[in-house]
């Protein structure tokens, strides 16, 4: 019984495209219509996200139709110049494309109807079924305007629905209308397409729009200085504007740095608990080891990012929704443009200090391809929180506690210098890329400054949900795969080398004279040396010797690829300290380590600084690589990034090592 109607639904699947200007409330309407039944894919051949979602529409007679909505990228026209416009153009204009809609809903900002109708009339002229939505009717009322929709509908030849997507007003009327037969408009506004001179066509189109709107819009009362205008005076003020922006950055940064630390701690302890339970209760087989140290570790490496991603996107969604992000671009554009960046690059760069993963995902708000690419490419140079444990361990190793330089604590000074170096390197790399990256797309800053509005919390929720899901599904796969590979590399060695080590430590004489902890620790150390990762560390030794690194550091460089802070844990294993939480004992072990050739301390100032520079510049983060792959939809960009950052790290370390040697 229950299955029969569902089969009917499949037959009656309607495809509905939603088109409209950016800031027209298009995505809000899409969210209201589809709820959580959304998915994200790619439009064929391009890196533009395709948001689609489904919804059941009820007909007048009570029967139900299944509808699939496609949220087209926001555009101002159908002249295919930018990538976004091209996608919208292809879906609407190219016959036989798989996404070709049965009905197109054109969403317009009713308080700004003249400009909105530019796109709307272009879509109507395609002679496809169109429903025109006049959104933001609340703003129309605020402006003291009335719109004669009946007259406008007759003139345009398409049905019109007025609504306020934020308050879900009028959505039911739209849903009902979509179940009815919508016929294409028989009106043609531009009779002769002037392909030779698009400028002339634009002028003609606006002339026609003006005559279409004549008598349709009435304004009662005079327009007073708007709230947006007053707020702009403060938020783009030459002093207050920057102070407020700095304050907002401070809040965002503190949140993703400190607040996220709590849930991240819970996730970490949950996974530690699980793996401890696993090692106690599961049989000691290779499969259990794979499950615990490979899969579970990889999974925790994915889930650990969720709090930071959720928090950053909560903020970004609020900043976008309120219209503040456009003002950030406005006041920062000139400064950032010098480095080939965009005013909107500031947020990703600053967020990169906490973590490059959510930061790179947030570059989506940068419309210009070149500026977005440069931002993605340089953001990992910002010193992220995973580098902090490495810096802390190394500074404490090479600088005695309490040593000062003038009035300043030298350890603190070095730490600050590392952050500064990352920032300068990011700007420098951006400046260089400005000249290298070529694009046919001209860099425009012609954009709408939307009026300020209160954030819509449901939109914030959808954004968080969407970003977390995309990260887990797309980047998560790569992260787990690399985790398993790294686990295998460090837990298996060639031939019977591991068995020999185990046999050695089973020797009765040896067991008698050492505690279980000592045995475990030195066995782990020897196993790591004998593992494939150990061999890899030794193999790269000639390449890293000029930087002052030996094979032990080489192993740490290899395993750090999982995440930079793994450096500390690997060092602990190599120096057979065991307890990774105890940095004190790792430091002691490392500080007594002797250089095999000179017989002096291995971790000199030169080696320590060189290693810190290496960690500051090198792309040792599989999660970032996975996210760059996901955001650029190609392996080319992460590969270039890996190579250029690696080169920068090698040269930087080489220079620093030779200066301080």
């Amino acid at each position: 019984m229950a299955e029969a109607p569902d089969k009917n639904l499949e037959l009656l699947k309607l495809k509905i495209a939603i088109a409209g200007n950016p800031n027209s409330g298009k995505s809000t309407l899409f969210n209201v219509l589809t709820g959580l039944n959304q998915k994200t894919g790619n439009f064929p051949g391009v890196t533009v996200d395709k948001h689609s979602g489904s919804s059941k529409l009820k007909r007048k007679n009570g029967s139900v139709i299944m509808a699939e909505f496609i949220d087209l990228p926001g555009t101002y026209s159908l002249n295919p110049k930018s990538l976004d416009e091209h996608v919208a153009y292809n879906v609407l204009c190219v016959p036989n494309n798989p996404d070709r809609p049965d009905i197109t809903v054109v969403v317009t900002d009713a308080s700004n109807l003249k400009r909105s109708l530019f796109l709307a009339t272009q879509v109507i002229e395609l002679q496809i079924p169109v429903v025109l939505v006049l959104n933001m009717m609340d703003l129309v009322e605020e402006k003291g305007m009335t719109i004669d929709t009946t007259l406008l509908s007759t003139r345009l030849g398409v049905p019109i629905v007025t609504l306020n997507a934020r308050e879900k007003k009028g959505v039911d009327a739209l849903k009902l209308l979509l179940t009815e037969t919508v016929v294409p408009s028989n009106k043609a506004f531009i009779t002769k397409k002037n392909t030779e001179d698009p400028a002339q066509e634009n002028i003609e189109r606006y002339r026609i729009i003006s005559s279409l709107l004549e008598g349709c819009i009435k304004t009662i009362g005079e327009e007073k200085e708007s709230f947006s205008h007053k707020l702009d005076k403060i938020l783009t003020h030459r002093i207050w504007g920057y102070l407020i922006f700095l304050f907002i950055l401070f809040i965002v940064f503190q949140s993703i740095f400190y607040i996220a630390a709590f849930p991240m701690g819970w996730i970490e302890s949950a996974f530690t608990g699980m793996s401890e339970w696993g090692s106690e209760h599961l049989p000691h087989t290779a499969w259990a080891a794979l499950l615990i140290n490979g899969i579970l570790a990889g999974l925790s490496g994915v889930i650990i990012f969720i709090p930071q991603i959720a928090l950053l996107f909560a903020f970004i969604s609020i900043l976008e929704d309120t219209g503040y992000m456009a003002r950030v671009s406005f006041i920062m554009d000139k400064l950032m443009r010098r480095f080939g960046l965009n005013g909107k690059s500031v947020i990703p760069l600053i967020s990169g200090v906490a973590c490059a993963v959510p930061a790179i995902m947030s570059t989506r708000t940068i419309g210009n391809w070149k500026e977005r690419m440069i931002t993605i490419m340089v953001t990992p140079l910002m010193s992220c929180s995973a580098r902090l444990p490495v810096y802390t361990l190394l500074t404490s190793l090479i600088i005695p506690v309490g040593k000062t330089w003038g009035f300043f604590n030298l350890q603190g000074l070095i730490l600050m210098a590392m952050y500064l170096i990352g920032f300068i390197a990011a700007l420098g790399a951006a400046w260089v890329m400005k000249f290298i990256l070529r694009t046919k797309e001209k860099s425009y800053f012609i954009m709408e400054m939307p009026v300020y509005r209160a954030p819509l919390w449901s939109n914030v929720g959808y954004t968080i949900y969407e970003k977390v899901r995309v990260f887990i599904v797309d980047a998560g796969k790569v992260i787990i795969a690399v985790s398993i590979i790294l686990w295998a590399l460090s837990s298996y060695g060639p031939g019977d080398s591991f068995e020999k080590i185990e046999k050695k430590y089973q020797d009765k004489e040896y067991v008698l004279h050492h505690s279980q902890l000592e045995i475990d620790n030195s066995m782990a150390s020897e196993k790591l040396e004998a593992s494939y990762a150990g061999h890899l560390g030794k193999a790269i030794e000639p390449a890293i010797a000029p930087l002052g690194f030996d094979w032990k550091i080489g192993i740490a460089l290899v395993t750090s690829f999982a995440a930079r802070e793994v450096f500390v844990g690997t060092m602990a294993t190599i120096y057979s300290v065991g307890n990774t939480d105890n940095t004190q004992s790792i430091r002691e072990k490392m500080s007594v380590e002797k250089n095999a050739e000179t017989g002096e301390a291995k971790f000199t100032l030169a080696v320590g600084l060189s290693l810190m520079i290496f960690y500051a510049f090198a792309m040792q983060c599989m999660s970032t690589i996975a996210v760059v792959y996901r955001e650029t939809n190609s392996w080319k960009w992460p590969a270039i990034q890996f190579l250029y950052m690696g080169a920068l790290a090698w040269v930087g370390s080489f220079v620093v090592y030779n200066i301080f040697k």
Binding site: N79, N202, F330, K334, I446
Partner: protein, 79 residues
């Protein structure tokens, strides 16, 4: 009365003018899509603290553009 032609970039905050023509074709198409058509009134609403970009009121909404883009738009002020 003689019309005086300026570029949009030369105007100060609060000043308004009527759009006359454009000097760069590609930019002009983009600007016209956004409602900056000849004959339309345009008012300088705001200038970013570093002098660039600028925000203008046109066709009933606020548009921001760089000085370099504004300098391709010729406007006449009614003297």
């Amino acid at each position: 009365m003689k019309r005086k032609l300026n570029t949009l970039a030369q105007l100060n905050i609060g000043e308004y003018a009527i759009i006359d023509s454009f000097t760069d074709k590609e930019t002009s198409i983009k600007l016209m899509e956004m409602g900056c058509t000849p004959g339309e009134k345009i008012t300088i609403d705001n200038i970013a603290p570093m002098g660039d970009p600028i925000a203008v009121s046109v066709s009933g909404y606020l548009l921001s553009l760089r000085k370099s883009e504004a300098s391709t738009m010729l406007v006449h002020t009614l003297l």
